[in-house]
Symmetry: C2
Subunit: 417 residues, 2 copies
């Protein structure tokens, strides 16, 4: 996308808006209105209900949790995407409406019913997301009032967008947003996206919710393919604690009119959408509970991309690797041995490893390096890069995770449901 | 085995010797001599070299790490089992001889050469194990002297056996041993076993080493089958942090003479050997770094045993589940959702969960329970039992893990290589 920090310099522009929460009004896709309100689900009194309304029926796609136990809102939304008739997304935080049985399904349905009545559409054309405590029924009185309040407040502004992003937070330290202009060829479009979560989020578990909006004209099939593709190399390549929630939901809505993207434009669109998703995903990891460092893990030379991903996931999940990064310890033994027990082929005699740009293991053997200097560098860097070559194959992936600190353990052991 | 705490009462006897480190001279299989000495590998000056010698060639079998990066001693020992010509096992702690290249292979070979010369056998008839720091060459001067010292001290006594068990420790708080008499039918035999490790062990990683000795007469094939079978439902069903080391080694040696076990006796032998292995495995978990509780996880009703094991491993590895147990929080949401993302089929509407005997989730929905009372019970119990029914299949397993504490994180992040 235009101005991404990661983009080649030829693509840089003054309109770069990817830094955390540095969003601009001009990058907001037209056709959407936003609100975020406090309806009283959260005891803290913080915002807990978000509403996004489109001016007319729009294209929408979704990617949902792989957990076999899914919350009621996931069941509803999953059955409604892809679509070209969506008019709104309503999201509550503070209560996940998960493991809530028939009542939970009724409540999720009612949330959509109320929104549909307000915006004047069928209930089936409303999507719903929930996040927060599980096993408790939604406080529907609050929610009924909240939806009506939100509907009165929706506005097509950046302020509204940010309030909406605020209202989907649970234990996130920061709200997570990205806006960007994207250049798909001759035509330029806009993307605005918000997310919450990662790590296990209080009170009971992690939930990753994200809603991406664009004005690029897409068919439902194009939206679904782009979103699934983007998720594959962004949200599906981050982990904090590996605990997949019952509520994870990623939505894409397009208000774009006119001729749908041609194949070349679509390819560019997906690449740019993926970059936006990566930026959001990295915000999630950086906000992992108790995290001191983001671990940016690059696996090279695996048999194929799938093998590379398996190795990356294994390294990222290892408590030994995580705690080494926490302690700024360039501990190649923990990293190399984690690759060794991943369920993918590696060539032990070809393994090489760099941490923060310093080679500490090459062709299957440790190499001398200035350990105190590298440790100091790891300590100073918010993002610790780990580049691990495991053979001579073509499989390469990038993966992001967070380290493991005593704060994480304290937060998750001292909290009582 | 006779007197196991878990055995039906009809099998109890006064000779029960399974409690931690409560071993008796009479349960030691004949034909083995033991020593444990300090040779100077460990800066602490603690014992770091163990030698077990058999009076004549014996049957031996081995089960080794699944890590694709294996230490030199694993390469050697793995190539030498099963066998009926083994005369000795030499083990050093303090240095894993892993990621040490050709020099490492030479050093491991030399360890066997020295033992062979002392004992009067071929080097190929000696097994070797190492555990400790990786990526550093063995201090062979110490080891040469240490092996000679150990050989002068070997004795066929419980004291020698315990010294040997002591010398294989790394960061283990306790040495881990089990002795037992086992009743395979008309005949009775003895088993003595030692182990070290689990969790990631300082300085660099976990290593699980175990050596089991018996006087039951076995062919090499019978020894291998019994050991592999026993490992499957004991050492392969425990985890602390899921990090498989480069050095894990489990050996079984039999000094038994006379008619090998008949099929019925062999079946009984394997069951008893498995129980000994389970006792050792539980000692490993209980000594997991920083562990406050052992989590004893029983999965019932899975499609088959393999599915049950996948679910158990996933629940056991979840940092959310571990920290809930740390905090004595009967958090069914974390446990049930971990089962939901395990790579195995479950029937969400059939899920039931008991913690420490109290049902808190039944047929897919939470049930009311006295939460403070259950939390108090969890806090008081060293072993927190989790019984999770995931459907109506026949797959059942038991699995053991430890909780995750700030001590674990501190230990593994503050330590610097």
């Amino acid at each position: 996308m235009t101005g991404s920090e990661n983009a080649p310099s030829s693509k840089k522009s003054d309109s770069f808006k990817l830094a955390h929460d540095h969003c601009t009004e001009g990058d907001l896709p037209q056709g959407f209105r936003f609100a975020g309100v406090t309806c009283g689900i959260k005891p803290s009194g913080k915002p807990d209900l978000s509403l996004i309304v489109s001016d007319r029926p729009v294209v929408a796609a979704g990617v949902y949790t792989q957990n076999k136990i899914v919350a009621a809102p996931v069941v509803l939304s999953r059955g409604r995407t892809p679509s070209e008739m969506i008019r709104a997304v309503v999201t509550n935080s503070g209560n996940a409406n998960a493991c809530t049985g028939d009542q939970g399904m009724q409540d999720a349905t009612e949330m959509c019913d109320i929104v549909a009545e307000m915006v004047g559409c069928q209930s089936e054309n409303v999507l719903v997301m929930s996040t927060g405590i599980i096993g408790k029924h939604l406080p529907m009185d609050c929610i009924r009032t909240g939806i009506r309040d939100a509907h009165q407040q929706v506005e097509p502004s950046l302020a509204g967008f940010l309030r909406s992003a605020e209202a989907i937070r649970t234990t996130d330290k920061n709200r997570k947003t990205v806006t960007a202009q994207i250049d798909v060829g001759q035509r330029k479009f806009r993307v605005a996206a918000m997310a919450k979560g990662a790590g296990m989020i209080a009170p009971n578990m992690a939930t990753m919710l994200s809603c991406m909006l664009t004005d690029a004209p897409l068919t439902p099939e194009m939206a679904q393919a782009s979103l699934s593709g983007a998720a594959q190399t962004s949200f599906n390549r981050v982990s904090v604690d590996g605990h997949t929630s019952t509520n994870d939901t990623l939505l894409l809505m397009s208000s774009g009119q006119g001729t749908p993207l041609n194949p070349s434009e679509l390819k560019n669109f997906q690449r740019e959408l993926t970059e936006v998703a990566v930026q959001l995903a990295k915000q999630l990891v950086a906000d992992g509970e108790g995290a001191l460092h983001v671990m940016a893990i690059r696996i090279e030379g695996a048999a194929d991309e799938s093998a590379a991903e398996t190795i990356a996931r294994t390294v990222a999940a290892s408590p030994l690797v995580k705690t080494a990064v926490t302690g700024s310890d360039p501990n190649w033994g923990r990293i190399v041995s984690a690759a060794g027990y991943a369920n993918a082929e590696i060539a032990p005699e070809k393994i090489s490893l760099q941490i923060c740009g310093t080679t500490i293991y090459r062709d299957g053997a440790p190499v001398p390096f200035d350990e105190p200097a590298l440790s100091t560098k790891m300590k100073a860097n918010a993002e610790v890069t780990i580049v691990l070559r495991v053979g001579e194959g073509s499989g390469t992936v990038e993966y992001w995770s967070s380290d493991l600190t005593t704060s994480y353990v304290e937060f998750n052991s001292e909290y009582t449901t």
